[in-house]
């Protein structure tokens, strides 16, 4: 599959999911199980992406400057620092560590 096909197909799928919600009967939201699974699905995917983005190096695990950068980001999010500043701080942390070591 080319990158273009991936981009287009994924976009159609994501937009279709948004549209689908307007066709679904209101009563689905009153059922606790689908609501809970959908909310937890978001949590699980984001956490898994953090793990692979922080530790993954191709198909192996690597421990490097990304871990302290992620810890810095976590501390700043806990201190309610705005999103964009936290992203910059994480990047700067990793960049400086790579420069020094």
């Amino acid at each position: 599959m080319t990158v273009w096909q991936t981009v287009i197909l994924a976009s159609i799928a994501v937009v279709a999911l948004k549209m689908a919600g307007y066709l679904v009967p209101q009563s689905l939201l009153e059922k606790p199980v689908p609501l809970r699974v959908a909310n937890l699905l978001t949590v699980a995917l984001l956490a898994a992406l953090i793990a692979t983005q922080t530790l993954g190096s191709g198909q192996s695990i690597a421990v490097d400057a990304r871990i302290p950068a992620l810890i810095v980001a976590g501390v700043l999010f806990a201190l309610r620092v705005p999103f964009i500043l936290v992203i910059v701080a994480a990047a700067v942390t990793a960049a400086l560590l790579r420069l020094w070591f």
Binding site: A48, F83, A94
Partner: protein
Amino acid sequence: MPLRVMARSSADAPAIRASLSVGVPVAAYGVSFGALSVASGLDIWQTQVLSLLMFSGGSQFALIGVIAGGGAGGPAIAAASLLGVRNSLYAIRMAPIIGPGFWRRFAAGWFTIDETTAVSTAQTDLRSQRVGFWVTAVVIFVGWNLTTLAGALLGDLLGDVRQYGLDAAAAAAFLGLLWPRLRHLQPIVVAVGAAVVAAVLTPWLPPGLPVIAAALVAVVVGITNWLGKRS
């Protein structure tokens, strides 16, 4: 007539203020999406199509995250779609606020994301809910696309992005999306479990698939309601 316009705009002021205070900072981090996307190997056009068409931050970051890790198209589409499932729930919640009409719902569908739903449902009357939704939608759609382009152009100039720590910035971006959802024990346990599953499976499965496998943690905990509140 001028009096009526004034009365209207002052009544709408709280909803517009909420839209701007949420919309402007969110739109700003389109810069990080644009830069990370070209760093992941997408070109500027592909990056821009994602922001125009897909228009859902979490799904966009997921797609480029899987591609950056060497994942194939299938897992990348699956990751983006699974993260998009929550937009379906937002749409169910938004439908009575948006009201009837095919084209209105079609446009609203496009704009149904975390922030538009959050601003809209936080308002107290129907009119403010509608104003909150549409103003947030326009602010973020226009802002997000302009900053995506800026980030993509910037990222293209930077060359090898690892030396600038952009790979760590991507992880931090996911953490920022996850953070507000970690208020109870159940989502925290799911987050830790999913991260461990994804990390442990990384050496054993093709890139992209560990992330999908980790989604099973949410399905199992969600159906059994382990550690959840009784309702």
